[in-house]
Protein backbone atom coordinates (compact mmCIF):
# COMPACT_ATOMS: atom_id res chain seq x y z
CA UNK A 1 0.00 0.00 0.00
CA UNK A 2 2.80 2.33 0.93
CA UNK A 3 4.43 1.49 -2.39
CA UNK A 4 1.40 2.68 -4.36
CA UNK A 5 1.01 5.79 -2.25
CA UNK A 6 4.63 6.61 -3.00
CA UNK A 7 4.03 6.30 -6.75
CA UNK A 8 0.85 8.29 -7.05
CA UNK A 9 2.06 11.92 -7.03
CA UNK A 10 4.70 11.27 -9.72
CA UNK A 11 2.19 9.37 -11.85
CA UNK A 12 -0.42 12.08 -11.58
CA UNK A 13 2.14 14.59 -12.83
CA UNK A 14 3.22 12.27 -15.63
CA UNK A 15 -0.34 11.63 -16.73
CA UNK A 16 -1.05 15.35 -16.79
CA UNK A 17 2.09 15.99 -18.87
CA UNK A 18 1.05 13.31 -21.39
CA UNK A 19 -2.44 14.72 -21.56
CA UNK A 20 -1.15 18.25 -22.14
CA UNK A 21 1.19 17.02 -24.86
CA UNK A 22 -1.63 15.14 -26.61
CA UNK A 23 -4.04 18.08 -26.35
CA UNK A 24 -1.58 20.67 -27.64
CA UNK A 25 -0.52 18.41 -30.50
CA UNK A 26 -4.15 17.66 -31.39
CA UNK A 27 -5.16 21.33 -31.35
CA UNK A 28 -2.30 22.07 -33.75
CA UNK A 29 -2.54 18.93 -35.88
CA UNK A 30 -6.22 18.94 -36.82
CA UNK A 31 -6.40 22.42 -38.39
CA UNK A 32 -3.00 21.96 -40.04
CA UNK A 33 -4.10 18.60 -41.41
CA UNK A 34 -7.29 20.13 -42.81
CA UNK A 35 -5.29 22.89 -44.50
CA UNK A 36 -2.86 20.43 -46.05
CA UNK A 37 -5.68 18.10 -47.03
CA UNK A 38 -7.52 20.92 -48.78
CA UNK A 39 -4.23 22.11 -50.27
CA UNK A 40 -3.95 18.81 -52.05
CA UNK A 41 -7.11 19.47 -54.04
CA UNK A 42 -6.42 23.14 -54.71
CA UNK A 43 -6.37 24.14 -58.37
CA UNK A 44 -2.87 25.59 -57.83
CA UNK A 45 -0.16 23.17 -58.94
CA UNK A 46 2.56 24.39 -56.59
CA UNK A 47 0.32 24.24 -53.51
CA UNK A 48 -0.71 20.70 -54.45
CA UNK A 49 2.91 19.72 -54.97
CA UNK A 50 4.00 21.15 -51.62
CA UNK A 51 1.21 19.44 -49.72
CA UNK A 52 2.00 16.17 -51.48
CA UNK A 53 5.66 16.51 -50.59
CA UNK A 54 4.82 17.27 -46.96
CA UNK A 55 2.53 14.26 -46.61
CA UNK A 56 4.88 11.83 -48.32
CA UNK A 57 7.90 13.08 -46.41
CA UNK A 58 6.35 13.07 -42.95
CA UNK A 59 4.49 9.80 -43.39
CA UNK A 60 7.78 8.16 -44.30
CA UNK A 61 9.54 9.37 -41.16
CA UNK A 62 9.48 7.50 -37.84
CA UNK A 63 8.51 9.76 -34.94
CA UNK A 64 11.77 9.26 -33.01
CA UNK A 65 13.64 10.60 -36.04
CA UNK A 66 11.51 13.77 -36.02
CA UNK A 67 11.89 14.30 -32.27
CA UNK A 68 15.60 13.66 -32.23
CA UNK A 69 16.20 15.88 -35.23
CA UNK A 70 14.29 18.73 -33.58
CA UNK A 71 15.89 18.26 -30.20
CA UNK A 72 19.51 17.41 -31.02
CA UNK A 73 20.15 18.65 -34.56
CA UNK A 74 18.34 22.01 -34.73
CA UNK A 75 20.32 23.55 -31.81
CA UNK A 76 23.35 23.23 -34.11
CA UNK A 77 21.85 25.94 -36.30
CA UNK A 78 20.79 28.03 -33.34
CA UNK A 79 17.18 26.88 -33.07
CA UNK A 80 16.75 25.71 -29.50
CA UNK A 81 13.40 24.56 -28.14
CA UNK A 82 12.45 22.86 -24.91
CA UNK A 83 12.02 19.08 -25.04
CA UNK A 84 8.29 19.53 -24.49
CA UNK A 85 8.09 22.06 -27.33
CA UNK A 86 9.97 19.74 -29.69
CA UNK A 87 7.69 16.85 -28.80
CA UNK A 88 4.50 18.90 -29.21
CA UNK A 89 5.61 20.38 -32.55
CA UNK A 90 6.94 17.06 -33.84
CA UNK A 91 3.76 15.19 -32.89
CA UNK A 92 1.58 17.90 -34.41
CA UNK A 93 3.51 17.79 -37.70
CA UNK A 94 3.41 14.01 -37.75
CA UNK A 95 -0.27 13.66 -36.98
CA UNK A 96 -1.20 16.48 -39.37
CA UNK A 97 0.06 14.41 -42.30
CA UNK A 98 -2.27 11.59 -41.28
CA UNK A 99 -5.19 13.98 -40.76
CA UNK A 100 -4.51 15.43 -44.22
CA UNK A 101 -4.61 11.97 -45.76
CA UNK A 102 -7.88 11.25 -43.93
CA UNK A 103 -9.38 14.56 -45.11
CA UNK A 104 -8.39 13.73 -48.66
CA UNK A 105 -10.09 10.35 -48.58
CA UNK A 106 -13.14 12.04 -47.05
CA UNK A 107 -13.13 14.63 -49.83
CA UNK A 108 -12.96 11.81 -52.36
CA UNK A 109 -16.07 10.33 -50.77
CA UNK A 110 -18.16 13.49 -51.32
CA UNK A 111 -20.16 13.12 -54.54
CA UNK A 112 -19.18 15.77 -57.07
CA UNK A 113 -22.85 16.72 -57.54
CA UNK A 114 -22.67 18.67 -54.25
CA UNK A 115 -19.88 20.84 -55.59
CA UNK A 116 -21.57 21.40 -58.91
CA UNK A 117 -24.83 22.30 -57.17
CA UNK A 118 -23.07 24.72 -54.82
CA UNK A 119 -21.34 26.43 -57.71
CA UNK A 120 -24.54 26.56 -59.72
CA UNK A 121 -26.00 28.50 -56.80
CA UNK A 122 -23.17 30.96 -57.23
CA UNK A 123 -21.52 30.32 -53.87
CA UNK A 124 -17.96 31.55 -53.46
CA UNK A 125 -15.06 29.12 -53.56
CA UNK A 126 -14.53 29.59 -49.84
CA UNK A 127 -18.12 28.60 -49.07
CA UNK A 128 -17.94 25.67 -51.45
CA UNK A 129 -14.85 24.29 -49.70
CA UNK A 130 -15.46 25.39 -46.11
CA UNK A 131 -19.22 25.06 -46.01
CA UNK A 132 -20.09 22.20 -48.35
CA UNK A 133 -17.04 20.05 -48.99
CA UNK A 134 -15.16 19.95 -45.66
CA UNK A 135 -18.09 19.32 -43.28
CA UNK A 136 -19.18 16.29 -45.29
CA UNK A 137 -15.63 15.07 -45.80
CA UNK A 138 -14.89 15.25 -42.07
CA UNK A 139 -18.16 13.55 -41.18
CA UNK A 140 -17.16 10.69 -43.46
CA UNK A 141 -13.82 10.18 -41.74
CA UNK A 142 -14.81 10.48 -38.07
CA UNK A 143 -13.85 6.83 -37.40
CA UNK A 144 -10.41 7.45 -38.92
CA UNK A 145 -9.99 10.62 -36.88
CA UNK A 146 -10.90 8.62 -33.77
CA UNK A 147 -8.18 6.08 -34.51
CA UNK A 148 -5.73 8.91 -35.16
CA UNK A 149 -6.56 10.54 -31.83
CA UNK A 150 -5.92 7.29 -30.00
CA UNK A 151 -2.65 6.92 -31.92
CA UNK A 152 -1.73 10.47 -30.99
CA UNK A 153 -2.19 9.76 -27.30
CA UNK A 154 -0.10 6.63 -27.58
CA UNK A 155 2.57 8.43 -29.58
CA UNK A 156 3.10 10.95 -26.77
CA UNK A 157 5.05 8.15 -25.08
CA UNK A 158 7.80 8.57 -27.68
CA UNK A 159 8.54 11.99 -26.17
CA UNK A 160 10.44 9.94 -23.61
CA UNK A 161 13.23 9.56 -26.22
CA UNK A 162 14.00 13.26 -25.82
CA UNK A 163 13.67 13.17 -22.03
CA UNK A 164 10.21 14.66 -21.61
CA UNK A 165 8.99 13.31 -18.27
CA UNK A 166 5.51 12.22 -19.33
CA UNK A 167 3.83 9.01 -18.28
CA UNK A 168 6.41 6.67 -19.84
CA UNK A 169 9.29 8.81 -18.62
CA UNK A 170 7.81 8.84 -15.12
CA UNK A 171 7.48 5.06 -15.21
CA UNK A 172 11.13 4.60 -16.21
CA UNK A 173 12.23 7.05 -13.49
CA UNK A 174 10.28 5.16 -10.87
CA UNK A 175 11.61 1.83 -12.13
CA UNK A 176 15.21 3.00 -11.75
CA UNK A 177 14.44 4.29 -8.24
CA UNK A 178 12.23 1.52 -6.89
CA UNK A 179 13.43 -1.40 -9.08
CA UNK A 180 9.96 -2.91 -9.40
CA UNK A 181 9.27 -2.71 -13.13
CA UNK A 182 6.22 -4.95 -13.40
CA UNK A 183 3.72 -3.10 -11.15
CA UNK A 184 5.04 0.28 -12.27
CA UNK A 185 4.67 -0.43 -15.99
CA UNK A 186 1.26 -1.96 -15.44
CA UNK A 187 0.22 1.23 -13.67
CA UNK A 188 1.51 3.28 -16.60
CA UNK A 189 -0.42 1.04 -19.00
CA UNK A 190 -3.57 1.66 -16.98
CA UNK A 191 -2.84 5.39 -17.19
CA UNK A 192 -2.72 5.21 -21.00
CA UNK A 193 -5.86 3.08 -21.11
CA UNK A 194 -7.59 5.77 -19.03
CA UNK A 195 -6.84 8.23 -21.82
CA UNK A 196 -7.28 6.06 -24.92
CA UNK A 197 -10.49 4.19 -24.07
CA UNK A 198 -12.62 7.29 -23.37
CA UNK A 199 -11.20 8.96 -26.51
CA UNK A 200 -12.16 5.98 -28.64
CA UNK A 201 -15.61 5.83 -27.03
CA UNK A 202 -16.17 9.55 -27.59
CA UNK A 203 -15.43 9.27 -31.29
CA UNK A 204 -17.68 6.23 -31.61
CA UNK A 205 -20.49 8.22 -29.97
CA UNK A 206 -19.81 11.10 -32.38
CA UNK A 207 -19.90 8.73 -35.33
CA UNK A 208 -23.20 7.29 -34.12
CA UNK A 209 -24.66 10.76 -33.70
CA UNK A 210 -23.85 11.79 -37.26
CA UNK A 211 -24.93 8.50 -38.74
CA UNK A 212 -28.58 8.86 -37.75
CA UNK A 213 -29.22 12.44 -38.57
Amino acid sequence: MEFWAQLMPAFRAGLWESLQLALIAAVLAFPLGCFVGVGRIMPIAIVRGLCDLYINLVRSTPIPVIFIFFFFALPDVGLRFSAFGCAAAGLALYMASYVAEAVRSGVNAVPSGYIEAARALGLSERTVIGGILLPQAIKAVIPTLGNLSVDLIKNTSIAYTISVVELTGTAVQQVTMLARPIPIFVLAAVGYALMTFPTGAAFRALEHKFKYR
Binding site: V65, V77, S112, T161, A189
Partner: protein
Protein backbone atom coordinates in the same frame (compact mmCIF):
# COMPACT_ATOMS: atom_id res chain seq x y z
CA UNK B 1 -14.51 14.49 -56.14
CA UNK B 2 -11.40 15.57 -57.92
CA UNK B 3 -9.28 18.68 -57.74
CA UNK B 4 -9.93 19.37 -61.39
CA UNK B 5 -13.56 20.05 -60.53
CA UNK B 6 -12.58 22.97 -58.32
CA UNK B 7 -10.62 24.45 -61.20
CA UNK B 8 -13.36 24.01 -63.79
CA UNK B 9 -15.11 26.97 -65.42
CA UNK B 10 -13.55 29.66 -63.24
CA UNK B 11 -14.07 33.30 -64.08
CA UNK B 12 -11.01 35.08 -65.54
CA UNK B 13 -10.73 37.04 -62.31
CA UNK B 14 -10.70 33.87 -60.18
CA UNK B 15 -8.10 32.34 -62.46
CA UNK B 16 -5.89 35.38 -62.15
CA UNK B 17 -6.26 35.25 -58.39
CA UNK B 18 -5.25 31.58 -58.30
CA UNK B 19 -2.21 32.35 -60.42
CA UNK B 20 -1.26 35.17 -58.07
CA UNK B 21 -1.56 32.89 -55.03
CA UNK B 22 0.55 30.28 -56.79
CA UNK B 23 3.26 32.79 -57.55
CA UNK B 24 3.20 34.07 -53.97
CA UNK B 25 3.57 30.55 -52.57
CA UNK B 26 6.43 29.83 -54.95
CA UNK B 27 8.15 33.04 -53.85
CA UNK B 28 7.70 32.14 -50.18
CA UNK B 29 9.20 28.69 -50.85
CA UNK B 30 12.26 30.17 -52.50
CA UNK B 31 12.62 32.62 -49.60
CA UNK B 32 12.31 29.85 -47.00
CA UNK B 33 14.88 27.70 -48.79
CA UNK B 34 17.23 30.65 -49.05
CA UNK B 35 16.79 31.36 -45.35
CA UNK B 36 17.57 27.75 -44.44
CA UNK B 37 20.61 27.73 -46.72
CA UNK B 38 21.83 31.01 -45.24
CA UNK B 39 21.31 29.73 -41.69
CA UNK B 40 23.25 26.56 -42.44
CA UNK B 41 26.00 28.53 -44.14
CA UNK B 42 26.29 31.06 -41.32
CA UNK B 43 26.62 28.40 -38.65
CA UNK B 44 29.17 26.55 -40.80
CA UNK B 45 27.11 23.38 -41.03
CA UNK B 46 27.65 23.10 -44.76
CA UNK B 47 31.46 23.15 -44.53
CA UNK B 48 33.02 20.09 -46.16
CA UNK B 49 34.91 19.05 -43.03
CA UNK B 50 31.64 18.61 -41.16
CA UNK B 51 30.51 16.05 -43.72
CA UNK B 52 33.92 14.46 -44.16
CA UNK B 53 33.06 11.40 -42.07
CA UNK B 54 30.59 10.39 -44.77
CA UNK B 55 33.36 10.26 -47.37
CA UNK B 56 34.63 7.07 -45.72
CA UNK B 57 33.30 3.71 -46.81
CA UNK B 58 33.55 2.45 -43.23
CA UNK B 59 30.90 4.97 -42.10
CA UNK B 60 28.45 3.68 -44.67
CA UNK B 61 29.24 0.10 -43.74
CA UNK B 62 28.56 0.99 -40.11
CA UNK B 63 25.20 2.50 -41.10
CA UNK B 64 24.39 -0.39 -43.45
CA UNK B 65 24.78 -2.85 -40.57
CA UNK B 66 22.46 -0.59 -38.59
CA UNK B 67 19.93 -0.78 -41.41
CA UNK B 68 20.29 -4.55 -41.52
CA UNK B 69 19.62 -4.63 -37.76
CA UNK B 70 16.47 -2.59 -38.35
CA UNK B 71 15.31 -4.95 -41.10
CA UNK B 72 16.20 -8.01 -39.03
CA UNK B 73 14.20 -6.91 -36.02
CA UNK B 74 11.26 -5.87 -38.21
CA UNK B 75 11.19 -9.28 -39.92
CA UNK B 76 11.28 -11.18 -36.62
CA UNK B 77 8.61 -8.83 -35.30
CA UNK B 78 6.44 -9.51 -38.37
CA UNK B 79 6.72 -13.29 -38.01
CA UNK B 80 5.88 -13.14 -34.31
CA UNK B 81 2.98 -10.74 -34.85
CA UNK B 82 1.53 -12.74 -37.75
CA UNK B 83 1.62 -15.99 -35.77
CA UNK B 84 0.17 -14.47 -32.60
CA UNK B 85 -2.30 -12.33 -34.54
CA UNK B 86 -3.49 -15.42 -36.40
CA UNK B 87 -4.09 -17.22 -33.11
CA UNK B 88 -5.95 -14.24 -31.65
CA UNK B 89 -8.08 -13.95 -34.79
CA UNK B 90 -8.91 -17.65 -34.56
CA UNK B 91 -9.95 -17.12 -30.96
CA UNK B 92 -12.07 -14.12 -31.93
CA UNK B 93 -13.91 -16.03 -34.65
CA UNK B 94 -14.24 -19.25 -32.65
CA UNK B 95 -17.53 -20.75 -31.51
CA UNK B 96 -16.56 -20.73 -27.85
CA UNK B 97 -17.69 -17.67 -25.98
CA UNK B 98 -14.71 -17.67 -23.63
CA UNK B 99 -12.16 -17.71 -26.46
CA UNK B 100 -14.10 -15.00 -28.27
CA UNK B 101 -14.05 -12.77 -25.20
CA UNK B 102 -10.38 -13.45 -24.49
CA UNK B 103 -9.39 -12.69 -28.09
CA UNK B 104 -11.45 -9.51 -28.13
CA UNK B 105 -10.02 -8.37 -24.80
CA UNK B 106 -6.48 -9.00 -26.03
CA UNK B 107 -7.02 -6.91 -29.17
CA UNK B 108 -8.72 -4.07 -27.27
CA UNK B 109 -6.14 -3.92 -24.50
CA UNK B 110 -2.96 -4.06 -26.56
CA UNK B 111 -4.19 -1.48 -29.04
CA UNK B 112 -4.72 0.96 -26.18
CA UNK B 113 -1.13 0.80 -24.86
CA UNK B 114 1.85 2.56 -26.47
CA UNK B 115 4.33 0.26 -28.20
CA UNK B 116 7.24 1.99 -26.49
CA UNK B 117 5.82 1.21 -23.06
CA UNK B 118 5.57 -2.46 -23.98
CA UNK B 119 9.11 -2.54 -25.32
CA UNK B 120 10.34 -0.99 -22.06
CA UNK B 121 8.25 -3.44 -20.08
CA UNK B 122 9.85 -6.35 -21.91
CA UNK B 123 13.31 -4.86 -21.50
CA UNK B 124 13.06 -4.14 -17.76
CA UNK B 125 10.31 -6.50 -16.65
CA UNK B 126 10.93 -9.83 -18.35
CA UNK B 127 14.44 -10.35 -16.89
CA UNK B 128 12.79 -10.46 -13.46
CA UNK B 129 10.78 -13.46 -14.64
CA UNK B 130 14.03 -15.23 -15.39
CA UNK B 131 14.07 -14.52 -19.13
CA UNK B 132 17.28 -13.20 -20.59
CA UNK B 133 16.00 -10.39 -22.84
CA UNK B 134 18.32 -8.68 -25.29
CA UNK B 135 17.21 -5.38 -26.85
CA UNK B 136 16.43 -7.34 -30.01
CA UNK B 137 13.91 -9.58 -28.26
CA UNK B 138 12.48 -6.74 -26.22
CA UNK B 139 11.55 -4.99 -29.48
CA UNK B 140 10.28 -8.17 -31.14
CA UNK B 141 8.06 -9.10 -28.20
CA UNK B 142 6.97 -5.59 -27.19
CA UNK B 143 6.15 -4.38 -30.67
CA UNK B 144 4.93 -7.84 -31.71
CA UNK B 145 2.28 -7.89 -28.97
CA UNK B 146 0.85 -4.63 -30.31
CA UNK B 147 1.07 -5.58 -33.98
CA UNK B 148 -0.53 -8.94 -33.25
CA UNK B 149 -3.53 -7.06 -31.86
CA UNK B 150 -3.81 -4.93 -34.99
CA UNK B 151 -3.25 -7.88 -37.34
CA UNK B 152 -5.82 -9.98 -35.49
CA UNK B 153 -8.40 -7.29 -36.20
CA UNK B 154 -7.37 -7.21 -39.86
CA UNK B 155 -7.63 -11.00 -40.04
CA UNK B 156 -10.96 -11.02 -38.25
CA UNK B 157 -12.57 -8.48 -40.55
CA UNK B 158 -11.03 -10.33 -43.49
CA UNK B 159 -12.70 -13.54 -42.37
CA UNK B 160 -15.99 -11.73 -41.87
CA UNK B 161 -16.00 -10.28 -45.39
CA UNK B 162 -15.89 -13.76 -46.93
CA UNK B 163 -19.51 -14.41 -47.86
CA UNK B 164 -21.15 -17.02 -45.63
CA UNK B 165 -22.13 -18.94 -48.75
CA UNK B 166 -18.48 -19.98 -49.06
CA UNK B 167 -18.34 -21.74 -45.71
CA UNK B 168 -21.89 -23.06 -46.09
CA UNK B 169 -20.87 -24.66 -49.38
CA UNK B 170 -17.95 -26.27 -47.55
CA UNK B 171 -20.19 -27.60 -44.79
CA UNK B 172 -22.66 -28.99 -47.28
CA UNK B 173 -19.81 -30.91 -48.88
CA UNK B 174 -19.36 -32.55 -45.49
CA UNK B 175 -16.14 -30.74 -44.51
CA UNK B 176 -15.37 -30.24 -40.83
CA UNK B 177 -15.21 -26.70 -39.46
CA UNK B 178 -11.42 -26.71 -39.25
CA UNK B 179 -11.18 -27.77 -42.89
CA UNK B 180 -13.64 -25.09 -43.96
CA UNK B 181 -11.62 -22.44 -42.09
CA UNK B 182 -8.17 -23.57 -43.22
CA UNK B 183 -9.05 -24.60 -46.75
CA UNK B 184 -11.77 -22.17 -47.80
CA UNK B 185 -12.12 -19.09 -45.59
CA UNK B 186 -8.52 -18.28 -44.60
CA UNK B 187 -6.94 -18.38 -48.08
CA UNK B 188 -9.57 -16.01 -49.48
CA UNK B 189 -9.44 -13.75 -46.43
CA UNK B 190 -5.65 -13.52 -46.55
CA UNK B 191 -5.69 -12.55 -50.21
CA UNK B 192 -8.28 -9.87 -49.58
CA UNK B 193 -6.42 -8.54 -46.56
CA UNK B 194 -3.02 -8.36 -48.18
CA UNK B 195 -3.00 -4.56 -48.67
CA UNK B 196 -3.83 -3.95 -45.00
CA UNK B 197 -1.18 -6.44 -43.91
CA UNK B 198 1.48 -4.81 -46.05
CA UNK B 199 0.42 -1.38 -44.74
CA UNK B 200 0.90 -2.72 -41.22
CA UNK B 201 4.41 -3.81 -42.22
CA UNK B 202 5.24 -0.14 -42.75
CA UNK B 203 4.06 0.66 -39.20
CA UNK B 204 6.06 -2.25 -37.90
CA UNK B 205 9.19 -1.06 -39.67
CA UNK B 206 8.76 2.42 -38.22
CA UNK B 207 8.31 0.94 -34.75
CA UNK B 208 11.71 -0.71 -34.94
CA UNK B 209 13.25 2.77 -34.65
CA UNK B 210 12.00 2.77 -31.04
CA UNK B 211 14.83 0.35 -30.33
CA UNK B 212 16.93 3.50 -30.13
CA UNK B 213 15.68 3.97 -26.56
CA UNK B 214 16.95 0.66 -25.22
CA UNK B 215 20.28 0.82 -27.02
CA UNK B 216 19.48 -1.40 -29.98
CA UNK B 217 22.04 -0.73 -32.71
CA UNK B 218 19.68 0.44 -35.44
CA UNK B 219 20.24 3.32 -37.87
CA UNK B 220 19.31 6.11 -35.46
CA UNK B 221 21.47 4.80 -32.62
CA UNK B 222 24.37 4.37 -35.02
CA UNK B 223 23.87 7.94 -36.32
CA UNK B 224 24.12 9.12 -32.74
CA UNK B 225 27.33 7.15 -32.28
CA UNK B 226 28.79 8.74 -35.41
CA UNK B 227 27.76 12.10 -33.96
CA UNK B 228 29.54 11.35 -30.68
CA UNK B 229 32.64 10.42 -32.63
CA UNK B 230 32.71 13.60 -34.74
CA UNK B 231 31.03 15.77 -32.05
CA UNK B 232 28.31 16.93 -34.41
CA UNK B 233 24.57 16.28 -34.47
CA UNK B 234 22.98 17.77 -37.56
CA UNK B 235 24.92 15.81 -40.18
CA UNK B 236 24.67 12.27 -38.77
CA UNK B 237 21.01 12.65 -37.81
CA UNK B 238 20.27 14.10 -41.23
CA UNK B 239 21.88 11.14 -42.98
CA UNK B 240 20.31 8.59 -40.61
CA UNK B 241 16.89 10.19 -40.99
CA UNK B 242 17.24 10.18 -44.77
CA UNK B 243 18.02 6.45 -44.73
CA UNK B 244 14.83 5.80 -42.79
CA UNK B 245 12.78 8.10 -45.00
CA UNK B 246 13.98 6.53 -48.25
CA UNK B 247 13.44 2.96 -47.07
CA UNK B 248 10.00 3.65 -45.61
CA UNK B 249 8.95 5.64 -48.66
CA UNK B 250 9.89 2.73 -50.94
CA UNK B 251 8.04 0.32 -48.64
CA UNK B 252 4.95 2.53 -48.76
CA UNK B 253 5.04 2.73 -52.54
CA UNK B 254 5.36 -1.05 -52.66
CA UNK B 255 2.39 -1.49 -50.33
CA UNK B 256 0.23 0.87 -52.39
CA UNK B 257 1.10 -0.98 -55.58
CA UNK B 258 0.34 -4.30 -53.94
CA UNK B 259 -3.05 -2.92 -53.00
CA UNK B 260 -3.82 -1.93 -56.55
CA UNK B 261 -2.85 -5.32 -57.89
CA UNK B 262 -5.07 -7.16 -55.43
CA UNK B 263 -7.97 -4.95 -56.44
CA UNK B 264 -7.50 -5.99 -60.02
CA UNK B 265 -7.68 -9.64 -59.05
CA UNK B 266 -10.65 -9.07 -56.82
CA UNK B 267 -12.63 -7.34 -59.54
Amino acid sequence: MDYRLLAKDLSPRAEARLRAVGALVALLCVLALALVAYGLHRTGELEARRWQIFAHGATWKFLAIGLWNTVRVALADLLFAMALGGLVAMAQTSRYKFLKLAGGAYAEFFRAIPTLLMILFCFFGLPLLGLDVTPFWAIVIGSGLYNAAVLSNIFKSGIQTIASGQSEAGYSLGLARKHVMVGIVWPQALRRMRPSIVAQCVVLFKDSSLGFVIGYEEVLRRSQEIGTFTSSSLQPYFVGGCIYIVVIYLLRRLSEQGGRRTDEFAA
